[in-house]
Structure formats: C-alpha cells, structure tokens
Symmetry: C2
Subunit: 219 residues, 2 copies
C-alpha cells in the first residue's frame, strides 16, 4: 500500500490496482500551429503540462502501473458525431480541413497524441466521441478487467475533458486523483476553479496532487 | 419552432422535442434543517432557485413540455453505493441517520423533492446513484423514446450534479440549456465559473439562459 499526499486529505492506493489516465494530449489541442491555436487559444499554457506529464509517465512505466491514453475524435464519415456537436451556433469545424489534417477525425495528424507522451505497447488508447472518456468506450470494462480502484489523471483541458472524465469515473466508483501540473487549460481561471471544485466538500469528485507527490508516493 | 435568447448565442428549439430536467431539488440539499445545512452549508443560497424554478415548471406544464425530475440516493441496503463513495477521507455519511431520515437513502424524507416543485403524474422521477443523471438510469432511453433534442436544466447544485448531468447530456448529443436563476450552489464562485465554463468556446457544453427568457421563448 502506498499513500499520496493529496488535497483535501491523503489517499491510500496500491500501484497494482491503479491506472494513469492521460486525457487528449493531442497535437491539435497542445501544439502551436494546431486547431486550438487557430481558434485563438494560447497553446503555451497547455504545453506547460507536458514536462511533468512526461516525468509521471516515465515513473508509472518504471513501477509497472497501468497506463491508458484517450483521444477525442470521430470516424472519417462522421457518423458517430451527434448533429448537436457537429454544428453549434452555426459553426462547423469537425471534419473540415485544419492546419494538421481533418479536425477531430481519427487518423489525421492533429488528432494523434504528441510525441513526448506517446503510448507504447500495452497502453490502450481510448478513442472517444465526446468529452468524457467513459461514454461509448470500453474504458470501464478494461479498468474492471484489470482490477483498478484508483485513477490518476493528467491531460487537457482541465475543465472540459479531464473533469468530465473524472466525474464519470467518480460516479462509477473509482477514487480519482488529478495531478495539477500534468493538466492545463486555455483559461487560467477555469483551471484554478475546476481543481477547487473537484476537491471541495470532502473530495466530492476526487483528490488533487501533483507530479512530485505522485513520483514520491509510488517510489 | 421557438428561439430562446441565450448565451453565447440564440438557440432554436421545439417545445415538442424539448424537456425540462430538474436536478436533485431534494429536501436534504435545499431546506434549512437538512443534511446540507448540517454539513455547514448556507441553504438560503439554494432556496433562491426555487421561485424561478416554480415559474418555469408551471409554464412547461402549461405548454405541454415534457418534464423530468432526478434524485440522488441509494437502495436502503446501500448495495448500489460504491465503496469509494460510501466512505471518503474516513468519513461515512450515506445511510446514517440524518436530521430528515437516513442520508441519501431512497424513501427517507430528506431524499424526496421539495413541495414547491414536486413532480406530478406524467413527470418521471429518475433515481440516480451518482452525480450524473444518465449513468445507470433510464433517462437517455426515455428521452430517446420521446424524441427529445433539447434539454433545459434547473436544480442543485450547479457545479456538482447539474454540470455533471449536462456534460453527460452534451456527449449524448442533446442541446443543453441551463437556466441560471433556476440553479444554485453553496459556493457563489463555483456557481459563477461553472456557468462560464458551460458556455465558453462556443457553447462547448451548452447554453445559458434564465427563467424569464425561457418563459418568453415558449409562450
């Protein structure tokens, strides 16, 4: 049994029944020259999460913790993209040609994960059609098969896909920890308040720790 | 077709393919003398949402819009309560005796909905075990059977069960509108920033309107 020094209180966990889940570290969201930047966002904010995430990933691999990665995107024919998502407020981005290929379409360069935290063999990639990593995916089944109880989250963006996935995981009965320096948002206030909301009311959604406390806890 | 004046842009909808979803207007969360207050929360903040919610509910009934209500709670034997939820940070509240009966247990007085917005015949009650109204419930199936495209949300609390349910609904392809004066939180900053996060990035989770614009739009 290990213990991580987290907010609002310490959490006991076993490496063997834990998984590291990296949410949507996709080129289009994170890299300069991608779709996120084209929409006017400052991707340098998101890039800050990569070095700590890389350290955490290396440590998880070293100690043999399970690792999974998610990507948001759709089939090339967009048949799995709800009309309410495809066109919103009169705007249609998904499936159109972006700076790194068709936007949010599986197989395009922008849809794939950045090199620094790229999955290796044995680390499933969960392709999801929404913000949450559990809806219409096999994530819950994989975690059940592995006997997972505790999830450590990193990824982007904090208030969109990371918190949505954490809320899904919390309802499903996982103990969830977000690593604060391994996640980022285009909007600093959303980043800060999302972390506050997660740990409020006695960890109503989950715990908040960071890369250093994670590495210390599993060592 | 109707149009509601909403943020970040107007939204077209049909009353016939819309539903009003009231989240967890339960005595234990909303009323003085309930479990929420016992935990040190100021329930007067939540009570502010009741009069506008009552007006919206009356209007929805008048125009024949579908209405649903949710409650968070568990079976009396707690067999549907994940261990990670039952005891968190060493504290166990669920199932113990609270000021209005066993806390978060179906059938207790505190678990039921406040009188002012109490369901009537034809308005399904969705009993959910988590924060989200879709996980392990028949809500999605009911909405599909009714041909629903648009959801209007009220209820408590904004950043916990309301936003979790909206995020689930958004991923499932519904156009979601939260009525800002029909929802409230114990934490004013969480209330404010959650509404900001919902409508950011071109309504990435959904739209924000209020009771007056709802009533005007459906009239």
């Amino acid at each position: 049994m290990s213990t991580i020094n987290a907010d609002p209180f310490d959490l006991d966990f076993d490496v063997a029944s834990s998984a590291l889940v990296f949410i949507d570290f996709q080129r289009d969201f994170v890299l300069p020259g991608g779709f996120g930047e084209e929409l006017g966002n400052d991707t340098s904010l998101l890039l800050k999460a990569i070095p700590p995430a890389k350290d955490v990933l290396a440590k998880a691999r070293e100690v043999g913790m399970h690792v999974l990665h998610t990507r948001e995107g759709h089939r090339p024919d967009l048949s799995d993209c709800p009309p309410a998502k495809l066109t919103r407020g009169g705007n249609t981005f998904i499936g159109t040609d972006g700076p790194m290929g068709r936007i949010l379409v599986r197989g395009s360069k922008g849809h794939d994960i950045v090199e620094d935290v790229y999955p290796i063999d044995g680390e499933p990639i969960i392709d999801k059609l929404g913000k949450g990593a559990f809806y219409q995916t096999d994530l819950h089944q994989i975690l059940f098969d592995w006997g997972i109880k505790t999830l450590f989250f990193g990824g982007v963006t904090t208030e969109v896909c990371v918190q949505t996935s954490m809320r899904e995981a919390n309802d499903r009965g996982y103990e969830c920890v977000v690593l604060s320096d391994c996640t980022q948002s285009y909007f600093p206030e959303f980043y800060r308040v999302t972390l506050e909301m997660i740990k409020a009311q006695g960890a109503i959604v989950g715990w908040v720790a960071d890369s250093k406390t994670f590495i210390k806890a599993v060592d």
